[in-house]
């Protein structure tokens, strides 16, 4: 299987602070890959650099063999890499439908099919399509954030802490959806604090510590790894 994303020696700096200190990892096409690690390990910064929201200080990011390092966010989105930002960040004053349409903003073709696809995945959104985004519950907002990203018809969807602040039952629902999206051919790059859930879902996992990759393996391998258990799973 080929790698859809290849990250080499990626460094991200905010002013003088080095958030990501040269990490390398691969995302194979059609898989779910997760980055786990404590707060401040550099997970979010990595995703922000891939999506073009921050410019990396050095290193390279390639998508399907093409270099996309330092490209603008709209260019990267139009190629098919999209970020579901941390904390959902839906547009509170726009309706659910308008939120979804913004997701398809760069597309010029017909979006009806994708709208139906998202509504099939999240029937709740269809019921509330005329409601303002800000009036949805936390779980519904997370569905909207995922649905909005799917409207761009991505090859890779990157999710930053989709379980943040949600009840366990809803978290389970979100992870079911992640698996479902993956089954339909979308590669998923997932960041999670909820390491247990993330490693159970993912094919591959990377452990980040203070800006470096310290461990790598399949989901099951990491789940049974003693160091991971002690640090992230609390067992």
């Amino acid at each position: 299987m080929s790698n859809i994303l290849e990250i080499r020696d990626l460094q991200v700096r905010y002013g003088g602070i080095e958030a990501v200190k040269g990490i390398s990892f691969d995302v194979p096409e059609g898989e779910i890959v997760t980055l786990i690690g404590a707060n401040g390990a550099g997970k979010s910064s990595t995703l922000r650099a891939i999506s073009g929201l921050v410019k990396p200080a050095s290193g390279s990011i390639s998508f399907k063999g093409e270099d996309i390092t330092g490209k603008d966010a709209n260019e990267i989105v139009s190629r098919g890499v999209i970020l579901v930002p941390e904390g959902r960040r839906i547009f509170p004053d726009l309706t659910v439908l308008e939120n979804l349409k913004i997701g398809a903003y760069l597309r010029k073709d017909d979006i009806t099919e994708d709208l139906n696809w998202v509504y099939d995945l999240f029937p709740r959104l269809k019921e509330r399509s005329w409601q303002a985004g800000g009036t949805l519950s936390g779980g519904e907002q997370q569905m909207l954030a995922v649905g909005r990203a799917l409207m761009s018809r991505p090859k890779v969807i990157m999710m930053d802490e989709p379980s943040l602040g949600l009840a366990p039952i809803i978290v389970k629902g979100i992870f079911d959806i992640i698996k479902e999206i993956n089954k339909q051919g979308v590669t998923v790059l997932l960041i999670e604090q909820n390491a247990n859930m993330a490693l159970k879902t993912a094919h591959h996992g990377y452990v980040l510590e203070t800006g470096r990759v310290t461990l790598t393996g399949t989901g099951e391998e990491l789940l049974s790894n003693e160091a991971v258990k002690a640090a992230y799973l609390g067992t």
Binding site: S51, L53, D72, A73, N74, I76, V77, S78, I82, L83, P85, R89, I90, F91, P92, D93, L94, E98, K101, I102, G103, Y105, L106, R148, A149, S152
Partner: protein
């Protein structure tokens, strides 16, 4: 499908509403010609028509500011500067050649050896058509010049956030005001003196051969121009670009993550807003019959900002309603407070010159305290909305009545 039908219904409704307003304006202004004993309020010199004209002009500027502040979330205070650019552009290019020497007598004539009025008269004759074309071309040119300047200063300024953007645009407007009064530019801007003698609203009144006005259209003209401009702004806001503006307002980072180019869209909103502020400035010059840099102060921008806040940030109809209320209060309804009044031999206390502004400030404070989101919030005026409000009032009355009987 259903939504589309609703939209068509709404559009038709809005168009009928606008035409109705046009008809009323023409009717009111010509009442004094049709009947002999009309009350003073309907005389052509009445405050009513001042308020209507100024209200129309200001509502365009308020809506253009709302596009930027309310729909794109960019807090800019440069509106008076762009109005100044529009007013001067219009004035400089539409003063007829014959009047130039007299207007620019201090500088021995104008450096601009060209006038849109003469240009159109040279191949269209001196009729109404050439006047309309010259004024239209002047207004569009005014907008384009304002938009060009917006594009220039937008490059560095739009990278700034919130307060810093406000300070930078405010500074830009103040600098412009100083430059336009600079003596060295006199042959173009007439220095600190006003430019006048260009076509104004009253030139559109239709006169017969003896020079007697037969049909007054001076109030209709600003209404028509402003209605067209506001319609264009509404179309922009309802397009997918407008949706991107609102997304940027709601959450910049999320909008960028969805592939909305922040700079491109901010620039588009800034340039569009400035274009219409420029047209508004040109209309303002037509309204006061002169162009003078010293009136386009930051106080004017605050006035418009106040209107936007009172009307409701993010509501076009709110801005329009807010404008007419504000202009009517400041120009007309509260005027009596400035006059010393006697009831019999009793002198009413407090009423003296300047007291109007005190009361006005209190009214504004009350509005800000009790309508913290403005008159309209971010909703728009619609027939459905009015109907809903009426039926609510009715219901309230009936329930109150029932309580009374029980």
């Amino acid at each position: 499908m259903i939504q589309k039908q609703k939209n068509i219904k709404g559009t038709v409704g809005a168009m009928i509403g606008i035409l109705f307003v046009f008809a009323i304006v023409v009717f009111l202004e010509n009442l004094s010609a049709m009947f002999t004993n009309v009350p003073a309020i309907l005389q052509p010199t009445s405050q009513l028509f001042t308020v209507l004209k100024k209200g129309a002009v200001y509502s365009l500027v308020a809506v253009s500011m709302n596009l930027l502040n309310g729909f794109t979330g960019l807090f800019s205070l440069g509106q008076a500067g762009f109005m100044l650019l529009g007013a001067y552009t219009y004035a400089i290019f539409t003063v007829p050649m014959a009047a130039k020497d007299q207007v620019y007598y201090l500088y021995g004539g104008s450096a601009v050896k060209f006038s849109l009025v003469d240009l159109f008269q040279s191949f269209m004759g001196t009729g109404a058509a050439s006047l309309i074309c010259a004024v239209l071309a002047g207004l569009i040119l005014a907008g384009i010049v304002a938009a060009l300047f917006a594009a220039l200063i937008g490059l560095p300024v739009l990278r700034l956030k919130s307060d810093y953007l406000a300070i930078a645009t405010l500074g830009f407007a103040e600098i412009l005001r100083a430059i336009f009064q600079w003596q060295t530019l006199g042959p173009v801007t007439n220095g600190a003196n006003m430019i006048k003698s260009f076509p104004t609203f009253s030139d559109f009144n239709i006169k017969n051969a003896d020079g007697v006005v037969t049909l007054r259209l001076s109030t209709l003209v600003p209404f028509v121009v402003v209605a067209i401009c506001i319609t264009l702004i509404v179309l922009l806001i309802n397009s997918s670009y407008g949706r991107a503006f609102k997304a940027i307002r709601d959450d910049e980072i999320a909008a960028e993550a969805m592939g909305v180019s922040l700079f491109k869209h901010k620039m588009m909103s800034f340039i569009t807003s400035s274009f219409f502020a420029g047209v508004g400035g040109a209309l303002f010059a037509m309204y006061v019959s002169n162009a003078q840099a010293k009136v386009f102060t930051s106080a004017m921008t605050y006035e418009i900002l106040l209107i936007v806040v009172i009307g409701g940030i993010g509501s076009i109809s709110g801005s329009v309603i807010g404008t007419f209320l504000y202009v009517a209060c400041s120009e007309w309804w509260l005027r009596f407070l400035d006059a010393e009044t006697y009831i019999g031999a009793f002198k009413v206390p407090l009423l003296r010159s300047g007291f109007r502004m005190v009361v006005f400030s209190v009214v504004i404070m009350i509005i800000v305290l009790f309508f913290s989101r403005g008159i309209m919030g971010d909703k728009e005026l619609s027939f459905k909305g009015i109907g809903g409000l009426l039926s609510k009032c009715k219901k309230k009355k009936t329930t109150e009545g029932e309580e009374g009987t029980a």
